[in-house]
């Protein structure tokens, strides 16, 4: 079992309070949560994912964007 020390308790409360200061952007909130939970090294991974998701959404939404996106890969 993983003991919860007072310091860890405080850190977790800060990392995920019941009411977050909302930015309105999930990506920003996710990065903030990762920073505060000590898993900041996931942020580049999340950024790549978000970019890929944005590209896929753009390809699906606007037909003539697709050829430009395909050339990237």
């Amino acid at each position: 079992m993983r003991p919860i020390t007072p310091a860890l308790q405080t850190a977790r409360a800060a990392a995920s309070p019941a009411r977050r200061r909302r930015s309105g952007f999930v990506f920003v909130e996710l990065c903030r949560a990762l920073l505060q939970s000590g898993r900041w090294w996931l942020i580049p991974f999340v950024a790549v994912l978000a970019l890929s998701a944005a590209l896929l959404a753009a390809v699906a939404a606007v037909e003539y964007v697709a050829p430009f996106v395909y050339t990237i890969f």
Binding site: M1, R2, P3, I4, Q9, S16, A18, R19, R20, R22, V26, E29, L30, A33, L34, S37, R39, L42, F45, V46, L49, A53
Partner: protein
């Protein structure tokens, strides 16, 4: 302070409403949508809860979601990185689900429920469970243990909770993290035994009584329990961290034998070696689960020094393990919240905000589970008239009870629909199918012709409180907290087992419900009438639903069960419908 708790998007979505600390209404979405274990946003359940209190969403101070989706997403990313490249095929699917739906939970909640972002709060998954157990209990202070598959990261947690005039607190002391989880082990073996995960776990519990734990040594290789109640699963045997569709690997089959094909026949007493092998695997798993729950209880006691224990989380629905914790564990009293699974998170998250953040004093503990919707007798009579259903209306309830008792004593099986429906998975006398517990054919008949389910599954007895000790080895007052909610399995007294064949499981136990007149008056008066007629204050009580359907909510659904099954009669409030001879 009005607080609406919501659980959704995994399984058993539910809503619960607290008004100034009082639990006004709780309901699972499945009762309205008619989709078993419905995970969708509980729009109808929330609407019902608000309607019950005469509120609109604008009157609600806080809407609380029962877990933190961003932390869950973090777990998903870390797990896939750890497992790389094994889960590569699964990763795009998981991302599609998260990027397409779950990451936008805030806006989904606002759109679906009609609330604003300012009203929204989020509570950790296991904290929701812990709060639901503690704030529903009668204890001023207690140790709280929550055990389920997985929340955000935690799979098992130990808390210390207390309430006083100055406020309440629920303090996390220790936790166990994914992927090590007794709940996920139970689910993986549920899948191995050919049952549906998140649905068939209680079938595994029922099946375990037919077996011997001869695979215990093998399972100890899969799962080891530490001195500090930690649990370590050997990753070679499981693939749930990287797959959403399969939870165990071929190594597990090499260890325990081939998995059961879903739907393959299981017959008991075992007519074939395979049925017996599966029962033995279930029995081994059950022993391991009980051993772990006991270790957890001892650890919680060592950490907190409290005399009372509250249990929640899906594993707390394992009534056999609960009983062992109560009898063999170090705590004097044990309480299990009746909706201990994920649905209960809706209640717990609302209670946490109300009592811990809002500092609203606690009200009376939860003494019954009748927190759902009710239908007026006049509306029911009108519904039956409109449908042209022949029925008798009883203006005197005592006469109705006498007539139903007479039918039961003639070994007829009937439906019993009264008042508000139950909170949690158990039928406790509001939406029940009832039969004579003395009838040796009742179990087989209800399984085969009424509920159309596996023949090995047992039925529960409902017994009058003043007669419980005559039939069951109950340990009052310790059992007073578990038995009213059917949260414990107790031995039937050996000398009377032959008198209650319909409700005595193969191992001589029963998942008993003790009925108190002050908490469950209508059901109590019916069983009292049955006792006057037969001398036995026990009836068989099972949920009013057919196989793979959720429990009934409305009179129309109850009538649909009656029409599609072999029930002999149906009572809808004060209306009695009898099956006409064919």
């Amino acid at each position: 302070m009005n607080v609406l708790g919501i659980s959704a998007f995994f399984h058993d979505a539910a809503a619960a409403l607290l008004v100034d600390g009082e639990v006004v209404a709780c309901a699972q979405e499945e009762r309205f949508s008619r989709i078993k274990h419905d995970a969708a946003l509980p729009v109808e359940a929330a609407r019902f809860c608000l309607g019950q209190a005469g509120l609109t969403m604008a009157d609600v101070d806080h809407v609380v979601f029962y877990e933190k989706p961003l932390r869950k997403f973090e777990r998903l990313l870390v797990t896939h990185l750890r497992e790389f490249p094994k889960g590569l095929l699964q990763f795009p699917r998981a991302m599609a689900t998260w990027l397409g739906q779950r990451l936008w939970i805030e806006s989904d909640l606002c759109k679906g429920l009609g609330c604003t972002r300012e009203q929204l709060l989020f509570c950790e998954h296991h904290l929701s469970h812990a709060a639901s157990a503690f704030f529903s209990s009668p204890f001023e202070r207690a140790a709280v243990v929550t055990v389920d598959g997985v929340g955000e990261w935690a799979t098992t947690s130990i808390y210390r909770a207390e309430s006083s005039a100055s406020g309440s607190s629920v303090e996390l002391l220790e936790e166990l993290h994914f992927p090590h989880s007794i709940g996920l082990l139970y689910s993986a073996l549920t899948a191995y035994l050919g049952f549906e995960v998140n649905e068939g776990e209680y079938k595994v519990m029922g099946l375990s009584a037919y077996g011997q734990p001869r695979f215990l040594e093998a399972l100890e290789r899969v799962c080891s329990i530490g001195d500090d109640a930690s649990l370590t699963l050997d990753a070679r045997y499981f693939c749930y961290p990287r797959s959403a569709t399969k939870s165990f690997t071929p190594e597990l089959e090499a260890l325990l034998g081939p998995a059961r094909v879903p739907g393959a026949p299981l017959s008991f007493p075992a007519r074939d070696d395979e049925s017996q092998r599966f029962a033995d695997v279930a029995a081994s798993l059950q022993v391991l689960t009980e051993r772990y729950m006991l270790a957890l209880a001892r650890r919680a006691h060592a950490l907190t020094g409290e005399s009372a224990l509250c249990l929640a989380g899906g594993v707390a629905l394992n009534c056999v393990a609960n009983r062992r914790v109560q009898v063999e564990g170090p705590f004097e009293r044990v309480f299990v919240q009746p909706a201990a699974g994920d649905a209960g998170g809706a209640l717990g998250s609302a209670q946490w905000v109300t009592h811990v953040l809002g500092r609203t004093p606690r009200r009376a503990p939860l003494r019954h589970a009748f927190l759902g919707a009710a239908w007026a007798p006049a509306d029911i009579a009108r519904f039956l008239d409109d449908c042209g259903v022949e029925h008798d209306v009883f203006t005197d309830r005592a006469l109705l009870d006498d007539e139903v008792a007479r039918l039961l004593a003639e070994q007829q099986v009937g439906g019993w629909f009264q008042g508000r429906f139950e909170w949690g998975p158990r039928a406790l006398g509001a939406r029940s199918i009832i039969a004579d517990a003395r009838d040796p054919n009742a179990q087989d008949r209800v399984n085969r012709k009424i509920k159309f389910r596996e023949s090995f599954r047992p039925f529960a007895p409902a017994v009058l409180a003043d007669e419980a000790g005559r039939w069951f080895e109950l340990d009052a007052p310790a059992d007073d907290l578990l038995a009213p909610f059917m949260c414990s399995v107790v031995p039937v007294r050996p000398e009377v087992r032959g008198e209650l064949p319909a409700v005595t499981h193969v191992d001589g136990t029963a998942r008993v419900q003790v009925i108190h007149a002050q908490d469950n008056p209508r059901f109590h008066s019916l069983v009292e009438a049955f006792r006057r007629r037969t001398g036995v204050g026990v009836v068989l009580n099972t949920s009013m639903n057919l196989k793979d359907e959720p429990l009934c909510a409305s009179p129309a659904e109850a009538y649909a069960v009656f029409a599609r099954s072999d029930l002999d009669f149906l009572v809808l409030e004060n209306c009695l419908i009898r099956r006409r001879p064919a």
